[in-house]
C-alpha cells in the first residue's frame, strides 16, 4: 500500500518568480491534495487609498500590478467617473482601448514565454519575449513607461496619440501578427506541445462556474465571460471583435485561447486607430465626488477585474476594494492540481497566468535607502544598472543598445 507524503512548494518562486506556497500531498507522483497559500504580498493598498485623494489613489491603483496596470487604473477611473456622473470624451475612450489591448498583447506574449519555459521549451520563451519587447517599446512611446503608463486620469486620458505613433503601432502589429500566426500553428499542430499540455489542469465548465474562474481560464472551459462583451466599457461597444472560447478545459485550451486572443487584440487596435474620432481628451471632473457606491468592471489580460468605490462626498474615497482576476482564479487551483502528476504542477500553476501582487494588492514602493523621492530617466536607470554590475565584476557599458526608435 502506498504512503502519502506532503511537501511544500514555495513560498520562494514556486514556478513563477513570485511568492506563494503550495502544500502538495502526493501518492507516488500523483497529487492527491493541494492547499494554496498566498498573502505574502499584502501591503495594505486599500487602507492607503482611504487616506488619499482620488488623484493620489490613481497612482497607487496603477501599481497594483506591473503587468496589467492600465486595466486597474481604467476600472478605478470608470468608477470615479460614474460616481461623478461624468462621461469621458470619445477619443479618450478609444485611447483607453488601444492601451488596454497593447497591454493584453504584451501580457499574453509574456505568458506564452513563461509557459514555454515551464515545459522546457525555452526557444518559445526567447521568441515570444523578443516580440513582447516591441510591444513594450510601443507602450513606452505612448505613455513614457514600459509599465505603469500613466495614461488614465479621472475624466479621460492624459496623452494624445499622434498620427506618427499610429503608423509605428501598425508596423509593429504587422510584425506581431506574422509571428503569432506561427505561434498559433505551433499551438494547434505541434504534437509534443499538445501531448505536454493536453489533459492536465482539467477544469470542467461546471467547475469553472462553481469556483468562479475568470478570463482565459474560464473561456478555455467554454464560458463566454469576456467583460468587453458582457459589460461593455470604454469604446468596446463600437469595435467589432470575437470573444474567444475553447472547450478543451485544460492547459492546452488556455494556451489556445491566449494565442487566438492576440489576433483579436491586433484586430481591435487596428480598428480603433482607423476609426478614432477627434475630441477633447479629458472631461471636467469635480474635486469632491458625490456620495454613492459603484462597481466597475474591466477585462484584464487575466480576466474580470472588479473595483468597488464608496464615496462620501469629499475628495477622498470612503472605501476602495480591488478584486483582481488572479484572486478569482486561485479558487480552482487546488481542484486543477489534484489528480495530476507532480511534474505538471509548475505549468498548471502558470496556466492561470497568476499575478500574486494582484491577488494580494500592493502599496506603492518607496526608496528604502534615502526615503526621498527621486525621478530616474531612461539613461539614469541604465547607468545605475551598469554601475551595479561593474561593482560585481561585470562591465556592461560596452554592450550596444538599440536606439529608442522602434526597430524591427
Amino acid at each position: 500500500m502506498s504512503k502519502e507524503i506532503t511537501i511544500p512548494i514555495g513560498p520562494q518562486h514556486p514556478s513563477l518568480k513570485e511568492p506563494g506556497c503550495f502544500t502538495i500531498t502526493l501518492d507516488g507522483e500523483k497529487v492527491v491534495k493541494a492547499v494554496v497559500g498566498v498573502g505574502y504580498n499584502h501591503r495594505g493598498l486599500e487602507k492607503a487609498c482611504e487616506a488619499r485623494t482620488y488623484i493620489q489613489d490613481l497612482y497607487i491603483i496603477e501599481r497594483v500590478c506591473g503587468i496589467c496596470s492600465h486595466t486597474h487604473s481604467t476600472a478605478f477611473c470608470q468608477a470615479v467617473e460614474e460616481l461623478a456622473g461624468v462621461v469621458i470624451p470619445r477619443r479618450a475612450a478609444y485611447i483607453r482601448v488601444i492601451m488596454a489591448e497593447l497591454e493584453r498583447l504584451h501580457s499574453h506574449l509574456l505568458w506564452l514565454g513563461i509557459a514555454g519555459h515551464e515545459i522546457g521549451f525555452d526557444t518559445l520563451l526567447m521568441y515570444s519575449w523578443r516580440d513582447r519587447e516591441k510591444v513594450l517599446d510601443l507602450l513606452a512611446m505612448l505613455g513614457g513607461n514600459r509599465v505603469n503608463y500613466g495614461i488614465n486620469t479621472p475624466g479621460g486620458v492624459r496623452r494624445d496619440l499622434e498620427p506618427q505613433m499610429a503608423e509605428d503601432i501598425k508596423t509593429v502589429l504587422d510584425y506581431i501578427e506574422e509571428q503569432n500566426k506561427y505561434y498559433i500553428h505551433l499551438a494547434l499542430s505541434e504534437a509534443t506541445l499538445a501531448a505536454r499540455l493536453g489533459g492536465i489542469g482539467y477544469l470542467s465548465r461546471d467547475d469553472a462556474i462553481k469556483y468562479g474562474s475568470v478570463g482565459p481560464v474560464s473561456r478555455a472551459s467554454g464560458i463566454p465571460d469576456d467583460v468587453r462583451v458582457i459589460d461593455q466599457y470604454a469604446a468596446y461597444d463600437d469595435i467589432p471583435f470575437d470573444a474567444i472560447t475553447d472547450d478543451h478545459c485544460d492547459v492546452f485550451g488556455r494556451a489556445v485561447v491566449r494565442v487566438l486572443e492576440i489576433m483579436e487584440s491586433i484586430k481591435i487596435i487596428r480598428y480603433a486607430l482607423d476609426n478614432m474620432p477627434d475630441s477633447e481628451l479629458v472631461a471636467k471632473m469635480p474635486r469632491r465626488i458625490p456620495e454613492g457606491e459603484v462597481i466597475s468592471r474591466t477585462e484584464a489580460p487575466r480576466g474580470e477585474d472588479i473595483h468597488y468605490i464608496r464615496a462620501n462626498g469629499t475628495d477622498k474615497p470612503d472605501r476602495v476594494h480591488v478584486r483582481a482576476p488572479s484572486e478569482a482564479n486561485w479558487h480552482a487551483m487546488a481542484h486543477m492540481l489534484e489528480g495530476d502528476y507532480l511534474a505538471d504542477v509548475p505549468i498548471i500553476i502558470a496556466a492561470i497566468d497568476p499575478c500574486y501582487s494582484c491577488t494580494d494588492r500592493a502599496i506603492v514602493l518607496q526608496d528604502s535607502d534615502s526615503g526621498k523621492e527621486k525621478i530616474w530617466d531612461w539613461q539614469g536607470l541604465r547607468q545605475y544598472s551598469i554601475d551595479f554590475y561593474k561593482k560585481r565584476g561585470f562591465d556592461a557599458s560596452q554592450i550596444k543598445v538599440a536606439e529608442k526608435k522602434i526597430i524591427i
Binding site: 497559500g37 468562479g212 459589460d231 462597481i295 472588479i306
Partner: protein, 176 residues
C-alpha cells in the same frame, strides 16, 4: 433597462417590504439597501436558488461607524450585477458563511475576518488570509478607528495614544 426592471419586480413580489429599498442604479446594476442578518439570509437564498443569481463575484467589507457592512456582489445569466448588503454591529459582528453555496467566497470571508474582525460562522477551517503570522490579535486594519501610524512594524504592536486606546477598547468587538 427592461431586464433590470423585471428582476426588481421578481424580488419585490417575493419581498414587498424591499420596494423602497431596491433600485436600478444603471444598465446592468441593481442595488439593495443594507439588511439585517435574518432578512439578508432569506433574500440571499431566494436570489441564488430561485431568481437566477448563480454567479458570485466577491464580498466587500465596509465600516459604517457602529456597524460593519458586507456587500455581496452577484450576477445572473443576463450579466446583471446585484449588490446585496447586510450589516452587523461591531460589538457582535456575526455573519453566516456562504461557502456552502459558493466555494469561491472562502478567501473573501477570511479577508473579512482578518481585516474587519468579522465572525463568520461555519467558515471552513484553514489558514488565515491575508495578514501575516504573528499579527496581533484584536487589530483589524480596515476598521476606520485603526490608524496605520500607531502600528509598529518592527515589534508588530499597536500603540495608540492613551485616549485613543480607551476608545479602541470600547469599539473593537469580537476577538480574533
Amino acid at each position: 433597462m427592461e431586464l433590470e426592471e423585471k428582476v426588481v419586480k421578481t424580488i419585490v413580489e417575493r419581498f414587498p417590504s424591499l420596494e423602497e429599498h431596491i433600485k436600478v442604479q444603471r444598465r446592468q446594476r441593481i442595488i439593495i439597501d443594507s439588511l439585517v442578518r435574518k432578512n439578508f439570509e432569506q433574500v440571499f437564498a431566494f436570489l441564488t436558488q430561485e431568481a437566477g443569481f448563480t454567479t458570485f463575484h466577491l464580498i466587500i467589507g465596509v465600516d459604517d461607524g457602529d456597524d460593519l457592512g458586507f456587500v455581496y456582489i452577484l450576477s445572473n445569466a443576463d450579466n446583471i450585477i446585484l449588490m446585496l448588503k447586510q450589516s452587523a454591529p461591531k460589538s457582535n459582528p456575526v455573519i453566516e458563511s456562504v461557502c456552502d453555496t459558493f466555494p469561491n467566497a472562502l478567501w473573501h470571508e477570511r479577508e473579512l475576518v482578518d481585516l474587519f474582525g468579522a465572525v463568520v460562522e461555519n467558515l471552513p477551517p484553514g489558514p488565515t488570509y491575508p495578514l501575516p503570522d504573528g499579527w496581533p490579535a484584536g487589530n483589524y486594519p480596515l476598521r476606520k478607528e485603526w490608524k496605520v501610524e500607531y502600528f509598529d512594524r518592527e515589534t508588530m504592536t499597536y500603540n495608540p495614544p492613551q485616549e485613543d486606546a480607551n476608545e479602541e477598547q470600547s469599539t473593537n468587538g469580537g476577538s480574533k
